[in-house]
Amino acid sequence: MMSFWPSRWCSAASAAPAKAESRQDAGVLTVDLLVQQQNFRLQLNEQIPLQGVTALFGRSGCGKTTLLRAIAGLDHHPTARIHFAEQPWQTADTFMPVHQRRIGMVFQESSLLPHLNVQQNLLFGYQRRVSRLQVQLQPANVIDLLELDPLLTQAPGQLSGGQRQRVALGRALLSQPQLLLLDEPLASLDQQSRQEILPFLQKVARELNMPMLLVSHQLEDVVKLADHLLLLQDGRVISRGPLAQQLLQPEFAACGAMSVLTAVYQGCQHFMLQLTVGGQLLQVPAPVSSPTANGSYRLRILARDVALSLKPLAGSSVTNQLAVTIIAIQAAAHPAEVLVQLEVAGQPLQALLTRQSAQRLALTPGQALYAQIKAVALD
């Protein structure tokens, strides 16, 4: 049986106290599912933390969407058992209909009701829940958050793909959900529209503290949004846990190994953010668009952009240097390369080196050395 996952911003090493807390606060979504169709079988028994963003990641056809639809109640699989925290959504003899489950769903393609304009679409769910529930999200707040004001009187047909998904997201939020289900919300969009809507999803994830399940087959989206990850393959969950740890899975090495570091804000000097990871300083160009803020930042670092040296490097253009420890050395996708698993203050970091370099430096697990980080992407 799997363990509960650490809370959002805790590194694995210091997560223990926060873990017990988060379990009480948010609860878990328990899914026991067996779907058997021709040529397809989905079987899992999982407890998904109802906190932060959990990505259901895997190739097309691995069962991600089937799982999401079962959780929503859109498909009725008689043997499924689904509990949302204390609420039974599906048991041996009960099945809560979709409209009674408090979920917000964003579908893959545009799902705006074509006979209603943007404002009417936004309020469709809100009006049906506002009388019965204590409203937490007001239309004005959501319209503000997602910058929907200029679109309100337009018909769905007049909107671009990215705008439609933004409205669909706002509509889902206004139905006052306890759980947000996103079924490949970016898959039908071109690159530009994706960039247009990703920041809004990040905003929602960060500011609204609403548990989200994100179905995706794009590692890029998952890395930007998810806190936890469930890796599906051929109808089974092959691995689950906090994102940073999951990125070490060999399945990800093939699509470009990377790491996610959580860094703490210390200040900003000369347009450079001063961040620390376990007390070690990292400097990153401050984002131009958004003002800097206290708290945590998520740094994405490609394994390709990490170099290793036995001694601290002086006289180099690379400013960011961290003392790290080698955990393991693995084969990489290319036969001439190896993937070095490192640890910095309890957080995993990966470096992609040539086999030759690894041999020249005589790298062994347990060895302490220095990692130079050439490029960092900030979320």
């Binding site: 209909p97 979709v98 409209h99 799902s111 009701l113 074509p114 769910g125 509509r171 139905s175």
Partner: protein, 229 residues
């Protein structure tokens, strides 16, 4: 120009009444039936669909014949009614109404089925996740999105009932004020060599049918353009 006898007016009255009730009843029955056909995975689906389409290919006389047997004084339904102290349904307005409902069923179900299929499941799933129950979904999603389908279904049903002949003649005969509809009266006029009367009514029906269909298809095209925008 119009020179209609009282019996002609009576037939027009019976015809309109029959068309109106048939359309009303068929919309009530046909909507859930078409909805079920649009999404059912059941193995009964094909059988039901074939049954619904049967009046399209069957000679009206066959339908009328079996209904006459069933609803008449010796049929299962007719004799039950008699036993309950009611009248059997052959040669009555209620009888031809039942016949019309069965006969025009495909003309209600087909356009609705097509409209529901074109709409797909997604709008209903969306509405459900937003807290709308089945009735809510029907009135606020299905009805507005399938408006065109409902208009076409209602009109085709009305127009098709207007032109019904064989079933009514078999089942209802030609009782003025009860079962004598326009098509049957035209037949009677023709039999009696009363050509000018037959001509008036026939031309009237022809023009009415054309105008009704013309208006409906025009309306439907406009509705579709609105929704697809």
């Amino acid at each position: 120009m119009l020179n209609l006898a009282p019996e002609d007016w009576l037939a027009i009255q019976v015809t309109l009444k029959l068309c109106f009730y048939t359309t009303l009843i068929l919309l009530l029955i046909g909507t859930p039936l078409a909805f079920w056909l649009a999404q059912a995975q059941s193995r009964w689906r094909t059988a039901i669909q074939a049954l619904v389409a049967l009046p399209l290919v069957l000679p009206p006389t066959v339908l009328g014949f079996y209904l006459l047997l069933l609803l008449g004084p010796h049929g299962a339904i007719g004799s039950t009614l008699e036993a309950l102290g009611l009248r059997h349904l052959a040669f009555s307005f209620s009888g031809i109404l039942i016949g019309s409902v069965i006969y025009s069923l495909p003309f209600t179900v087909q356009p609705l089925l097509e409209a529901f299929r074109r709409m797909g499941q997604r709008p209903l799933e969306v509405a459900a996740t937003l807290g709308a129950n089945q009735w809510d979904q029907f009135f606020n999603v299905v009805l507005p999105l399938c408006r065109g389908g409902f208009v076409v279904a209602a009109t085709l049903t009305f127009a098709h009932t207007l032109g019904e002949f064989g079933v009514i003649l078999m089942l209802g005969g030609s009782i003025p004020g009860e079962t004598q509809v326009l098509s049957v009266l035209i037949y009677d006029h023709t039999e009696a060599m009363n050509y000018s009367q037959a001509h008036q009514l026939s031309l009237g029906l022809l023009v009415t049918a054309f105008v009704v269909l013309f208006i409906v298809y025009g309306l439907n095209r406009r509705l579709e353009r609105e929704v697809s925008l």
